[in-house]
Amino acid sequence: MTDTETLTADIETKGVSKESNGGETTNYKRKAFFSNVLKYAKSIFFACVGLFLCGGLWEWLSSYTEGDLPTPAATFTVFFEMLSDPFYDYGPNDKGIGLQLGSSIGRVLLGFSIGSVIAIPIGILMGASNIGKQIFYPIVQLLKPVSPLAWFPIGLVVFKDSDMATIFIIFITSLWSTLINTAFGVGSIPQDHKNVAKAFGFSKMRYLRKILIPYALPHIITGLRLSIGVAWLVIVAGEMLSGGAGIGFFVWDSWNALSLERVISAILIIGIVGLLFDKLFTLIENKVSYKA
């Protein structure tokens, strides 16, 4: 990591300093560009190798089960069919994949947002004060290992509504990683930074805004990234329980209709959305992290 960083930094400075004698600069830049292209080409190539192996295994499994497991070709036909008309709506039990996906994402975002809004301040409290830690940490330790699905009945009792109960389990799911990472980030603020606040008499507010939050932010975003990842895992199972609409319900419904092509297509779509969530938060993570 550090090696490549110094390398690129080196390239940049050399590029700048040699701006005057133009020929060499372009040469240098071209070399850097080509080495980058080569790097990407290589990683794409290896990713293709992996996918190819997976496809081969799938093909073999399909012939081994004598067609009970649909072939990749048959699956992709259905997959593209599903994508060609994602937003059709023929009543409550027959909706396009886009609508199903939309309602799942909506639930996840709602539960996740409420969870985060509660988890971040409590995490800050846990990280910043010993008493806060002593109050909340045992609760977190006790409840974190519980499968969020176990909360579903409680959600049903409290909200008397299966949709709300699903959002409730997403809310619970979204708490733990955010809590723990926020608390860790805030708890690990170096003494040096605290000394600055102390020496220059920073108010509580200034300390929070200018030291605590900027320092802890990368950790908080990591927590959010992990949280939304688990939330996306849980929503599928949650919607299988709750029924109605959503990608989880879609999987269950397709299984009941014995359309494994649709199940596998849904798995791919779930994977892609999860990957996109992860990438989005990784992007934010990189944005807010600083070089010490």
């Binding site: 040096d192 600055v196 020496a199 220059f200 008499g201 920073f202 108010s203 200034r206 900027p214 070089k291």
Partner: protein, 268 residues
């Protein structure tokens, strides 16, 4: 009663092996407007004493009094340059200074911005004001820390090896800037600095405090510098007072090592 009074100061730290006494029996009276250097071997407790004056740590014995009042914590009357600069890595050079000024000073936003720019000018970092600390060299970081301490215009400046990471040329300039600032204040600011550089100590100070080695380090000797101000760096080195003082300081700091070195030679 002096301006700054250190009385029987003892500072110990709790460690797994029990109490570690870093410094003890420190007695030092400092007048307003004095420049004091503290010199001593690494780890003897210089920063520890400095932090006690800054109010960053609490004495386990004795006291530090500023204008008759016991120091209980940090305050805007003392500006500190930490040994490790302590800049906030997510803020620009400008913001690092501005946040300190904004927290301490009681004036309009425009005046605060003016103060920051003036101090950036002083340490010659104007072109670098929008960089992050991670993009600066060690010496540049040190200058930011110096500008930040100066910007809040404190009565007492506490400088922990402020010029340690600077090259000889920049160091010379910064020393002159420090003296300029001191003169501008009507020689009213009290400056306490830690240094490892004997020549720097003589050039700048009224008195030089030489420390014993730790643990439980004490003051070994306090040397007065009688050279008249303004001092010319090139001229003073030729004076007999300078040469005598430098030899004495060298002796105080190195006698232990030279004896050991001789021992090594004889054993061969």
């Amino acid at each position: 009663m002096s301006y700054l009074e250190i009385k029987n100061l003892e500072i110990s730290f709790p460690t797994p092996k029990g109490k570690y006494i870093a410094v003890r029996d420190i007695n030092l009276s400092i007048e307003k407007g004095e420049i004091i250097s503290i010199i001593g071997h690494s780890g003897c407790g210089k920063s520890t004493i400095m932090n006690a004056i800054a109010g960053m740590n609490t004495p386990t014995g004795g006291s530090v009094e500023l204008m008759g009042k016991t120091i209980k914590g940090p305050g805007p009357d003392r500006g500190i340059v930490f040994q490790n600069y302590s800049l906030l890595p997510w803020m620009s050079v400008y913001q690092n200074i501005y946040q300190a000024v904004d927290a301490v000073m009681d004036c309009s936003k425009k005046e605060k911005q003016e103060i920051v720019l003036q101090n950036l000018e002083m340490v010659n970092l104007m072109q670098h004001k929008d960089k992050l600390p991670g993009q600066l060299s060690g010496g540049m970081k040190q200058r930011v820390a110096i500008a930040r301490a100066f910007a809040i215009n404190p009565g007492v400046l506490l400088l922990d090896e402020p010029f340690g990471a600077l090259d000889a040329l920049t160091k010379g300039t910064m020393q002159l800037e420090l003296l300029k600032l001191w003169n501008l204040s009507g020689r009213d600011k009290t400056i306490i600095m830690i240094t490892h550089d004997i020549e720097e100590a003589i050039f700048l100070s009224d008195r030089i405090v030489v420390m014993n080695d730790g643990p439980a380090a004490t003051i070994k000797e306090i040397e007065h510098v009688h050279l008249a101000r303004p001092r010319n760096k090139i001229e003073i080195v030729k004076t007999p007072e300078y040469i005598e003082l430098r030899d004495r300081l060298l002796h105080l700091l190195t006698d232990k090592f030279s004896i050991e070195d001789m021992g090594m030679v004889y054993k061969k």
